[in-house]
Symmetry: C2
Subunit: 230 residues, 2 copies
């Protein structure tokens, strides 16, 4: 969707990644100046990225008060998880009506990756767990659906950042495995049920004990997210 040719893309992408990975926590102020310095671009460029992130719901852009990482309320949190259930249910339904061979192949390949980094690289492991769901959506062949799932998964990360203490074991590998098995069997009902339980367990863990954590320097965090040649 986003065209990566402009200069604001790296800013957008880094911010997005940092928010999803919870390096930038909900509520963190995102001053245009300092972000611009970090990426060596002007405020104009930063602003474009922020406008886009606001449209996606990851950033809250209030007039004359600047941008900050969205702080979802508990009501929004429930709302978003419910929406996610709806979308991923649709994904399961569609995948089970398609040719399973290439789908299962791609999913199993992803699972190997997930296993590889489990307990080795936590950050990467978390990212892969989220990308499993995005991959599922992409395999339906529907770009619209994939975009929506992508967006909603990101927002779920935000929720986990706010309400859960940590989402390391967020997505159980076993549950992913079972989902793949259900798809492979072409059993839509079972696949939907597995996915439902999987998401529900994530949600349960998320919406238990809220706690706020201390702030940190934005520029320092973002510096780690600059991708050369992005």
């Amino acid at each position: 969707m986003y065209k990566s040719t402009t200069r604001s893309f790296p800013v957008y992408d880094s911010l997005r990644q940092a928010i999803i990975e919870q390096a930038l926590k909900p509520g963190t102020k995102l001053p245009e100046d300092s972000i611009g310095e970090t990426f060596s671009v002007s405020r104009t460029t930063v602003r474009n990225a922020l406008v886009r992130l606001d449209a996606e719901g990851l950033v809250d852009l209030q007039p004359n008060r600047g941008a900050s990482v969205s702080v979802p309320t508990i009501e929004e949190a429930h709302d978003i998880f419910e929406m996610r259930q709806c979308l991923e249910r649709e994904v399961m339904d569609r995948l089970c009506r398609m040719d399973k061979k290439p789908i299962v192949k791609a999913l199993k390949a992803h699972l190997v990756e997930e296993k590889k980094y489990l307990d080795v690289d936590t950050t990467r492991s978390i990212r892969l767990a989220g990308e499993f769901h995005i991959l599922l959506a992409e395999l339906t062949g529907s770009r619209i659906l994939a975009n929506y799932v992508n967006e909603i998964v990101s927002r779920c990360s935000l929720i986990l950042a706010r309400f859960a203490q940590a989402h390391s074991a967020q997505c159980g590998l076993d549950e992913h495995t079972e989902i793949i098995a259900a798809i492979e069997a072409g059993d839509a009902d079972r696949a939907i049920m597995q996915m439902h339980r999987h998401l529900h367990s994530v949600q349960d863990r998320a919406l238990l004990d809220p706690d706020e954590r201390g702030k940190e320097d934005v520029s320092a965090i973002l510096a780690r997210y600059i991708v050369p040649n992005a």
Copy 2:
């Protein structure tokens, strides 16, 4: 979602409305300069609006080549309609599990409006028909779901603009009436079925004969969409 305090909001809103109402047809170039002049704002401000519209899929913003009204392909069209089916199915399902009294009341009030302007004010009639679906989504109480439905309904208008000759009788009043009846009866299966058929008939009419129409001056069209004190 969008904060209406900034100066770019009127630009965004007018463009959006113009695109939805098909005054700005798919493919129409949207030069920053002329739009800025129309609204007496700078290109910076216009650009923010365009970035947002791009994120919503109504506008196509290509690097160094500017913005134009999105031209959905036939594949995207099918994709979007399928997504709409998914979302509105969810809406029906939720509404049927809720307290029907206030819901039905609101819906019937809307229906009266729709009747009022049928065959009187075509533009308004079309708008109201679309807003019926948005109202349904809003009545679920889920802002996320309502946003998604809003977005997808807008994109469907775009599709109609591209592939149907005109979408005057886009949404049959009778079908809306039947949907309300199904909700009132609390019959989720029937409501879902009615909605499915309703959307399918819209889709069928939409994806028949594609035709392109001539261009027109953007500024002239937009001038009609400026809302004083917006």
